[in-house]
Each structure stands twice: as C-alpha cells, then as structure tokens.
C-alpha cells in the first residue's frame, strides 16, 4: 500500500466534505494527534503520489448551470482511437473521455461525457466532434433519471 496509517486517517476525512471553518484541519489534527502543518504536508504528498487527483470543490453540474449532461459513445477503429481520444480531450465541454473494452452486444468503444448549457449547444458540438474526429457512428445516451450519484468512499 502506498499510504500509511496516518495517511489513511487523513484520507478517510478528506474523501468527504472537510469542515467549513477558517482552519478546516484543526479538529482532524487534534483527533489524530499531529499538527495541522503535518496534515498539509501529508496531503501534498498524497497529491504528488497521485492518490489525490484534485483537491477542492465538487459541484453539482446541473445546479451550476450545466443543464445538459450527455454520455456519448463512439465507434472507432482501434488504430484511430488514440488520435480521436486526444482530439476529444481537447474540448473543454468534455469532462471524461475513455477508450473501453468492446462487447459484441454493445460495440461502441470511445466514451465522452459532455456538459453544456443547451440542447442546441449539444447538437452543434456533436457535429463538430464528428467532423474533427471523422467518426460518423455515435450515440447519445441521455440521462432520464439519476438513481445514485456520490463520491466513492474508498476508506470505510
């Protein structure tokens, strides 16, 4: 494991919502018996090791004005996937872009999550991406209902 027991106690707290206080780590520092400075050093360490990908606010994008959130799936030959994925990554409206294992039942392999403010913006963007990547075969998987959305609790 790349983290020790103190890291574990810190991760357990920061994987959730930190205290909204002038000194948000004060209570945690008292609980685990180290200084706030040590907590900061440990968090920075976990960031540089890549365990913490980002530190800051997580928004509800819908409430932040991004009303249209579409999962899109694109069918691309493997030898062209790298170029297409890199092109997609360049769009600021795309938050996540992954190449995934294909299945005979569902053989779209390149997935991109798009967040925009209107359906019109979405359809223009899709046309633009299709043109810039030369992928004609894609589907838009609109969400009809959200059953669950939460951050992973890695440490129980």
């Amino acid at each position: 494991m790349e983290y020790d027991d103190t890291d574990r106690k810190i991760l357990k707290i920061v994987q959730g919502d930190i205290d909204l206080e002038s000194r948000p780590y004060k209570k945690l520092a008292q609980e685990i018996g180290i200084s706030e400075e040590e907590i900061i050093t440990k968090i920075k360490n976990l960031q540089s090791k890549g365990l913490i990908r980002r530190f800051g606010a997580v928004l509800r994008h819908q409430k932040a004005g991004y009303k249209v959130n579409a999962m899109t799936a694109w069918k691309v030959p493997l030898e062209e996937a790298e170029a297409a994925g890199n092109t997609m990554a360049g769009y600021k409206q795309i938050s996540h872009c992954y190449l995934r294992e294909v299945h005979p039942e569902f053989d779209y392999n390149l997935f991109a999550m798009i967040h925009v403010k209107s359906n019109e913006e979405l359809s223009n963007l899709l046309g633009d991406i299709s043109k810039s990547t030369s992928i004609k075969d894609y589907i838009v998987l609109n969400s009809i209902r959200e059953f669950k959305k939460q951050s992973m609790q890695y440490i129980e």
């Binding site: 790349e2 994987q15 959730g16 919502d17 930190i18 909204l20 002038s22 000194r23 706030e36 400075e37 920075k44 976990l46 890549g50 365990l51 913490i52 990908r53 980002r54 530190f55 800051g56 606010a57 997580v58 928004l59 509800r60 409430k63 932040a64 004005g65 999962m71 996937a81 790298e82 994925g85 890199n86 997609m88 990554a89 600021k92 795309i94 938050s95 996540h96 872009c97 992954y98 190449l99 995934r100 294992e101 299945h103 039942e105 569902f106 997935f111 967040h115 589907i139 838009v140 998987l141 609109n142 969400s143 209902r145 059953f147 669950k148 959305k149 939460q150 951050s151 992973m152 890695y154």
Partner: protein
C-alpha cells in the same frame, strides 16, 4: 434559480481549480479575491445550501488508490426498472447509476478493491436481478476533468 454573483462565480473557479492546500485556505482565497474571509465562508455555505457545491475535499484516484473501476450497463424491462435500479443502488462501490434513453437503459459505475471483487459483485447482481450485465473497463484514459468553468457562465 437566482443568479450567482460575480464574486460567487470567481470563488467557484478558485474553489475548483486553485484550492490552497494550506492551514487557512479561505484566508488565502479572500486575499486573492480582495474580500473578507467571513464573506468567503458565508458564500460557500450559501452555495452548499443551494446545492451548487456538493462537497469540498479530495478527489481520489481509483487506480492510484489500488482500486478497479468499470462502467456497466444492462437492458431492463420497463416494469422492472425500479427493482433492478434499487438492487444496483444498494451495492457498495456503485457511485453513479442512471436510467438512460437507449435499449441498454441502466448505466452504472462500479469501483471495487480488485478486478476479482468487481467480477464477484457483478455476478451476484446478475443472479439477484436475473439480468445480464455488460462490464466495460477503460483501457485508456484520455481525460478526467471534473471542474466546470464558471466565470464565463452568464445567466445562472
């Protein structure tokens, strides 16, 4: 929905992208935005109450944390959607679960401590729900960005 002020929008950009990992993060942000620390704390509380901010903390990286994650989908008859979505929701490690507009209508992400554990969970969900689940782990990540540009967002 009432509009966010320009201070709130600038604050959201800072909170997402430049959150200081420091003993007093909000004092540093107040200096940057030339307002008081109290104003910052009150604005954040307001945006949390409105649901714009889900939480403030660390976004951990599944892979670096030693976890396995995959995107799953299944095809569920209309009259069984509630039941199957409920079974999936209950599973620890399911962080997102959506009904989408496609014959493959339920889409969820699963994070587990290993590929073997993920396989076991999927097998159990399949036998409990009597539905075939397709698992599509990522083979290549082109982009993971979870911040949303706010200061150019008007009319929210």
């Amino acid at each position: 929905m009432s509009k966010l002020s320009s201070l709130e929008r600038s604050l959201l950009d800072l909170l997402q992208n430049e959150f200081p990992v420091d003993i007093e993060p909000y004092r540093i942000m107040a200096e940057k935005l030339q307002c008081s620390e109290q104003e910052i704390l009150e604005s954040i509380q307001y945006m949390k109450n409105k649901g714009v901010i889900r939480r403030i903390g660390a976004v951990l990286d599944a892979k670096h944390m030693g976890f396995y994650s995959t995107l799953c989908t299944c095809m569920v008859a209309d009259n069984r959607i509630e039941e199957v979505a409920g079974l999936i929701n209950q599973q620890r490690g399911v962080t997102h679960n959506y009904l989408r507009d496609h014959e493959y209508n339920i889409w969820f992400t699963l994070t587990a401590s290993s590929e073997a554990e993920a396989r076991m969970i999927i097998n159990r969900l399949e036998s409990d729900s009597r539905v075939k689940i397709i698992s599509m782990p990522a083979t290549k990540v082109f982009k993971i960005k979870v911040s949303f540009e706010m200061s150019d967002t008007n009319g929210i």
